[in-house]
């Protein structure tokens, strides 16, 4: 769940693209994710408001989507870390930034996508 905007880019035609930097851990050694299986779109965004936006004091504007299998196939694990509910950490990451970026590129190539938050009233 992204609140910054540097994790993805948006082309002139409005097409959003997930960037490798959006999938690597900064500050910490793990990447924070939420397991969203069986959740409605509106509930996912609501979770973002409550658990991410409130913490960062800025709105959630987009989210990356990928199945857990994309992570585990790259040597990472999904470790549940609650609370908040459905929160998990992705780890262990290599310590070198280039190796982290490389894993992120491969996850994106394998099918991770970005979804921009619909504007209010369009949901």
């Amino acid at each position: 769940l992204f609140s910054r905007g540097t994790e993805f880019s948006v082309a002139d035609d409005g097409q959003a693209r997930l960037k490798a930097a959006g999938l690597i851990p900064f500050k910490y050694v793990e990447l924070s994710v939420y397991r969203t299986v069986s959740l409605s779109e509106s509930l996912i965004w609501k979770m973002g408001d409550v658990f991410v936006a409130a913490l960062r004091k800025r709105p959630v504007v987009a989210r990356a989507k990928f199945p857990a299998s994309l992570i585990t196939s790259r040597g990472l694990q999904v470790r549940p870390q609650e609370p908040p509910p459905r929160h998990a950490d992705l780890l262990p990451w290599p310590t070198e930034k280039h190796a982290q970026l490389s894993i992120a590129q491969q996850i994106i190539e394998s099918g991770a996508t970005i979804e921009l938050r619909p504007k209010e009233g369009t949901r």
């Binding site: 609140s3 540097t6 930097a21 900064f26 500050k27 930034k97 280039h98 970026l101 992120a104 190539e109």
Partner: protein, 132 residues
């Protein structure tokens, strides 16, 4: 006036100047719009980033420029999901690069000191330089 007319008829020379200008503009824009959650971009990082862009061949496509939360500058050349180059540059010139060349991962760490390191130059040529 005659010289000016002939200069106008040489679009390639104009393109090169425009490329350098566009790249610098993109760097300035990225620095000035960086998230306040990110570590501020130091003057050293900006200068290294500028020198790096100047070292990129003028025939290369322009990269997307952004700022990492740790204050490093990122240059990214994206053709497709399986053909992409991401470079992260710090104030010391430490350069982390990762690329997919038709899906084949390549990554490494090097130091930029005015000349693009060989490993980076190799993948840059494969991703950023348009093939004739």
């Amino acid at each position: 006036l005659e010289n000016f007319s002939s200069w106008l008829e040489r679009p390639n020379s104009v393109t090169i100047d425009e490329a350098a200008s566009d790249r610098l503009t993109a760097l300035i824009r990225a620095v000035s719009t960086a998230s306040d959650e990110a570590r501020p971009v130091s003057s050293g990082t900006f200068q290294i980033g500028r020198e790096f862009l100047e070292a990129v061949p003028p025939t290369a496509r322009n990269p997307e420029v952004s700022i990492h939360p740790d204050g490093d500058v990122e240059f990214e050349w994206f053709l497709r999901a399986d053909r992409v180059l991401t470079i992260s540059l710090s104030s010391t010139g430490e350069t982390h690069y990762a690329a997919l060349i038709d899906g084949r991962p390549i990554s490494g760490r090097d130091v930029f000191a005015g000349t693009i390191p060989a490993g980076v130059a190799d993948v840059l040529a494969q991703v950023a330089i348009p093939t004739p």
